[in-house]
Amino acid sequence: MAGISGDGPSGAEKNGGKANGLRVVGKPWKKVDASAKVTGETKFADDIFLPRMLHCKILRSSAPHARIVKIDTSKAEAYRGVKAVLLGKDLPIPYGILPVSQDEHPLAIEKVRMVGDPVAAVAAVDEDAATEALDLIEVEYEPLKTISSIEEALETSEPRIHDYGEYGNVHRRTAYEFGDVKAGFAEADFVREDITFYEGSTHLPLEQHASVGQFSPDGKLTLWSSTQDPHYLHRSLAKVLGLPATHIRVIATPCGGGFGGKCDPFQHEIIVSKLAMVTGRPVKICLTREEVFYCHRGRHPVLMATKTGFKRDGSITAMHHRTFLDGGSYGGHGAASTFYTGVLQPTTYTMGTYKFDAVRVFTNKAPCGPKRGHGTPQPRFAQEVQMDKIAEQLGLDPAELRKRHLVPPHSLTCNWLKIGTTSLGKCIDKVVEGARWKERFRKLPHGKGIGLACSAYMTGAGTAIYWNNMPHSGVQLKLDRSGGVCVFCGSSDIGQGSDSILAYIVAEVLGIEPFDIRVVTADTDLTPVDLGSYSSRVTLMTGNAAIQAAERARDLLAQAAAEKLEVPANRLVFADRRVVDMENPEKGMSFVDAVWLAEAKFGTLGTTGSYTPPKAPGKFKGSGVGPSPTYSYCAAVAEVDVNPETGWVKVERIWMAHGGGQAINPVLVMGQVEGSIYMGLGEAMMEEMTYRGNRNVVHKFPSFLEYKSPTTLEMCDVVTYLIEDDERETNAPFGGKEAGQGPLLPVPPAIANAVYDAVGVRIDEVPISPDKVLKAIRAKAKGQEGRYGPTHFPSCPMPEPIRVATPWEGGTGEGVKREPALAKA
């Protein structure tokens, strides 16, 4: 529970305190949990110490792909302080975040699929005893052929890593065609195809995942865990533990960094729950940093071929975008990730027709999943680098080219995504002006360069992870006689400030101060369901639910106050902790008096609000992935300094214009934008989740030191512009769109385009490491193509695509069904 500090918003005033009718929204308040976080009071999961608590350690597979022949735990069971040992057979029910990917077990059953797969778990009186007991567990493995790359997965049909999926080691194939792409290419003046690769990377949250399970003698389980999605975890626990969901309580502790990495239900969360049930004592686990690397669920490595047909004016008549995803050892969110490597391509520039083929394969590596931007930074990289090449081919300025063909507001894309407001044109103008683009592009001395890229991103997925007709977010309000208000919501704050957003919005509607509000979140016993902190959904969905709950409360108070004041209820305004007649401001009462009158009139005061996203216009199979209540837009210019002798690239500065609509709290939006730029910079320049393919598919460097991420010394200067829409986006609370993911997306392509401007070589893959730049520079010096990147795109038999007519062809949004005969290889 948190309350905002007594101080008002931060000192700086925008435009000398511009009046827009909002008292709370749009101002830089401190977060409700800011004081706790700067004093060390915030209790993360590993900060929980309960009496009689046991400690859990997990034995993980040393083999990348093997059958388990024998496990002997007898010595471990007899070891001092050991209270329980668990094996796969103790938790036989499979689970997984998506209904279509129930392919995980808390502990391996019969076989292991990656180095790091959990095999056995120990609960002991202290961490030392649990750790020592792991050494006493004997496991005999029978090695199986390993699969370490997309190519190997396509070539190797046996052994299968999983016995489900499309065929062999192909997990998912997805194929769509919107409009007649062949005709689209025929209409084009030029067609070009570019092959690009985006390396995998991991979230690297500073907090190692931790959980504490407690089982009470009356048969109820409580799990505290560093999770982004307590509701989905709650469902998985009920399934695997065989307990009624009513007897399970999940409390999401403040999350010490998520970025998508704490969305899946994890093995250790189920294991400590089971160990608590078996031992009758609280059980804690905190993963080691190495184990966090094995949890992963990060960025998929994606190989892409993007064929685009365009006219002399740069308009895109057709795109055929193909992707291969290296999924790692489990399904996880992978089926959704597969869609995301293509589904948002048509959201930035008008595209006449679009074809999209995606294939996800299984390999013996840590499983990939949703990382900030989920599946979309990769195709944006492909598309935005290609746009730069198209502009050059046509002799057009890249900024001008993009501006000519922007997706218009309130339109449908060729793949039936409904675009609401957009400010992409304004964003481009802003960074072009800020970076002095026109004076400097292609005019800087050799070694210095600037590059531009744009993006769009969802503000909340339009579809829940499991099929249901219920709201995506719920809020309850309790008003008490003190004049205080308590907000209950299932959302989980992962540092982005979602708890604070609830306080600001309720305070705005009820005319009270954020400091008067308490927020209770992320507790499945106490709070109504919110689906979780993913897909940039939280501000929009909890915000809309909070507005509804607060407006219902305001209506109750207004009725009671109107009776007393003898004025019509619709003439009352709520501001500055008062309820007053707008026509006669002297006539009014305090907020707390209105609460007393309303409680006397109606009884105990409480209201609810809920939010369900609008129905998407597409009706074809698979149309649930991509639709969002609204999209954020952004444009970035990167400035680089490349040393042609060493290939070393220094990113000097990034200008970022983020079109996120009305900022609910601008200082928090700034933080999200800057954090996104940082993470994009890491992916562009150095971060890679790579394995020694020839040495048992072992992760190359599961540690902070060797997995390179930007420190203060590598972080670039940032110039951020927050761009508001010309009109308020009515689907978003007060017009506020997402900010946490979208601004990552244009960063890697802007840097790649800047490197080309600096030294004239194309680096068509990330990370853009010095060795790659140097190879391209040397190749160019020898008269070869000045390029580094993939040259080969593997083939895979694809099913007939689902064909959907575009809106402008008079389509209805229905698709032609996939023919099963062709779905088999």
């Binding site: 000192g11 993360f44 350690k57 902070f704």
Partner: protein, 186 residues
């Protein structure tokens, strides 16, 4: 070495006798007994219930566990608890004076420099040590001082701005956050 062995399997004496030391923590004398192989990080969190000190790797790579020993930043995960005997240890819990936050804490809260807040205690203490030596550090100086503290949320920008804001205020200047760090550039 098998996976998980790197820091999962610290070979330790089975039943060590406890060490018993005296030190000062956040200005107060403290006596504490603990297994002698424990790091200062573990002693603070597990034996003194000062859970404000965090850990991200326990291998000295991330800076989350930074505390001050006699005013100097040390990585408490690489520092034996025994070595703290007779020394003055400052943790994040020792920064505020009664209910009044340290100017760095205030500035971090004001500018949203603590997002998830997990790296924050280590960064606050490292910054406090910097300001003790260099009252008005340049941006470059701040970057150098914090180069061993990773943060995955903020991109470090709000952290720099908060340190600069606190430094100005500690010199008695009535500083407020710059408009562009709060609302962006015009």
């Amino acid at each position: 070495m098998k996976p998980g062995e790197a820091n999962n399997r610290k070979k330790r004496a089975t039943k060590p006798e406890k060490a018993h030391i005296q030190l000062r923590v956040n200005g107060e004398p403290v006596e504490v007994a603990f297994a002698p192989h424990k790091t200062l990080l573990e002693v603070l969190r597990e034996d003194l219930a000062l859970t404000g000190t965090k850990h991200g790797c326990e291998l000295g790579e991330c800076g989350c566990c930074a505390v001050l020993v006699d005013g100097k930043p040390v990585l408490s995960c690489l520092y034996l608890g025994l070595a703290a005997e007779g020394h003055e240890v400052t943790t994040v819990e020792g920064m505020a004076r009664g209910p009044a936050l340290h100017p760095l804490q205030d500035a971090f809260a004001e500018l949203g420099a603590a997002q998830c807040g997990y790296c924050t205690p280590g960064i606050l203490l490292t910054a406090m040590a910097l300001l003790g030596k260099v009252p008005r550090p340049t941006r470059e100086k701040i970057q150098q001082a914090l180069a061993g503290n990773l943060c995955r949320c903020t991109g470090y920008i709000k952290i720099y701005e908060a340190v600069e804001l606190a430094a100005a205020r500690m010199q008695g200047e009535p500083a407020t956050p710059a408009k562009e760090s709060v609302y962006g550039w015009d």
